[in-house]
């Protein structure tokens, strides 16, 4: 499970947690998010703007 960070507002999409509120269950891969997905916090960064975080938190 990987984590991806918004390069604008530092929101982190954690695959192990998903984003329940927006309908993405825990375990939803980043690659499985829709192509037009955007940051749920700032909404001004899109999927290609997210950066994969180096393995750190389990």
């Amino acid at each position: 499970m990987d984590r991806y960070e918004c390069n604008g507002c530092s929101y982190v999409y954690d695959e192990s947690k998903g984003d329940i509120h927006n309908g993405y269950p825990a375990g939803t891969r980043f690659s499985a998010l829709p192509a037009d997905w955007c940051c749920p916090d700032c909404a001004v960064r899109e999927k290609p703007d997210f950066l994969k975080l180096a393995e750190a938190a389990a």
């Binding site: 507002c9 329940i20 309908g23 955007c38 916090d41 909404a43 001004v44």
Partner: protein
């Protein structure tokens, strides 16, 4: 005149010159209460109209007299500035003042024995405060903290605009300055053409956003977890409680002031992105929203009353940034006056066009084809500003 010049002090020594003044945002929503006190104690009915006179008349004058403030906090001071809870209090305290105005105004309208014209003045005044509440809700609704997000919806309830909470962040911010955004006005579009397009477009978009979100969770749009339904329910509970207390006769007052309130938001929407558009990149995505895609104003007085909303470019580039830390950008297009003066201008379409169309044109170095043009008047605009016909361009 310019009160302060662009300054970048040493971070340790940096102090926000406007810190204490942000409390103006809490005081001015009390204007309908002050005007009621003046009208009742002097018996002069004109005082019921004090709030619109201050907003549409006095504020533009003060903007002119006090001038601009272009000071940006040094980046190293921003974290401390954002964490200073005083600034949050300055938004929270707006809410009791707003609700005292609404409840007091409703009571006076029903039980005050006032002539119809005075009640109208009172309703317009309370409505303008409800509209200002959308601005407070806007600041609160962009935050991650649950408390602020809840307070945002409570602040939206009097203006009957609970869906703004959904549409603004996930609709407007995503599509801002594109032809697809109902809340971005177009070159050649009058405020009166924009108002129905934005009101209806924002409502349907908010509904659609929640429908899609809930369907992804495997739920129906008709579910109490629908943020639109929750927010509208707050308005229903509020208006319903007032109707139980004061009788159903209060409902026309409440609905009218709500209409004034959300119309104030819509006229502000109208001037924030007029004619500006993001270009499409080769990938088919729109370029990222940049400072050049919003109209700004550094006018000190109106900025203090609107939690820096007029530093709109930085807000769109960094929506999570708290109001006290929003920056002025040299490259951002500037309005000739603060929002208070510009909303008066926007309500007079020929005056708006004569002031703003040339600014849009200058912003695009005379190339009108780069602007967001209102489709019904596209040919007229292209002919007027000397651009080549679109067929010729494509050929």
């Amino acid at each position: 005149m310019t009160t302060q010049t662009l300054a970048t002090g040493t971070p340790a020594a940096w102090k926000d010159g406007k810190r204490g003044l942000w409390m103006m945002g809490v005081l001015w929503p009390a204007l309908p209460l002050i005007s009621a006190a003046l009208a009742l104690s002097t018996g002069m009915g004109l005082f019921w109209w004090l709030t619109p006179v201050v907003i549409y008349g006095v504020l533009p004058l003060l903007d002119r007299l006090v001038g601009e403030d272009r000071v940006n906090a040094p980046e190293s001071a921003v974290a401390a500035l954002e964490n200073d809870r005083y600034y949050r209090m300055a938004t929270f305290l707006f809410i009791p003042v707003q609700y005292i105005c609404l409840i007091g105004g409703a009571w006076l309208a029903v039980s005050g024995g006032l002539p119809a014209l005075d009640i109208l003045g009172l309703a317009v005044s309370v409505g303008l405060v409800s509209g200002a509440g959308i601005n407070t809700a806007h600041e609160l609704g962009h935050k991650r903290e649950n408390l602020e997000r809840w307070l945002a919806r409570i602040t939206l309830a009097p203006a009957m605009y609970g869906h703004f909470y959904v549409e603004h962040n996930r609709g407007h911010h995503v599509r801002v300055a594109t032809p697809e955004d109902p809340a971005s006005s177009r070159l050649g579009e009058s405020f009166y053409a924009f108002w129905p397009r934005s009101v209806w477009g924002s409502l349907t978009s908010a509904w659609h956003l929640e429908k899609v979100r809930l369907e992804r969770q495997g739920k129906s749009v008709w579910n109490w977890r629908n943020d639109n339904l929750q927010s509208w329910a707050m308005t229903l509970v509020l208006f319903g409680a007032l109707a139980l207390w004061l009788g159903p006769i209060v409902l026309p007052f409440l609905i009218f002031q709500g209409f004034i309130g959300f119309s104030l938001l819509e006229v502000v929407n109208y001037l924030e992105h007029y004619g500006l558009v993001r270009q499409k990149e080769a990938s088919g995505r729109y370029e990222r929203c940049k400072p050049e895609h919003s109209w700004n104003s550094n006018h000190t007085v109106t900025n203090l009353m609107l939690y820096h909303l007029q530093r709109h470019s930085d807000h769109h580039a960094n929506p999570m940034r708290r109001y006290q830390a929003l920056r002025h950008f040299e490259q951002a297009p500037q309005l000739p006056s603060g929002y208070a003066g510009m909303i008066v201008v926007a309500m007079i379409p020929p005056l708006w066009r004569s002031l703003m169309d040339k600014r849009v044109l200058a912003h695009y170095q005379g190339d009108v084809t780069r602007a967001n043009i209102h489709p019904p008047v596209r040919e007229k605009i292209l002919a007027k500003y000397g651009a080549m016909q679109p067929q010729t361009v494509e050929a």
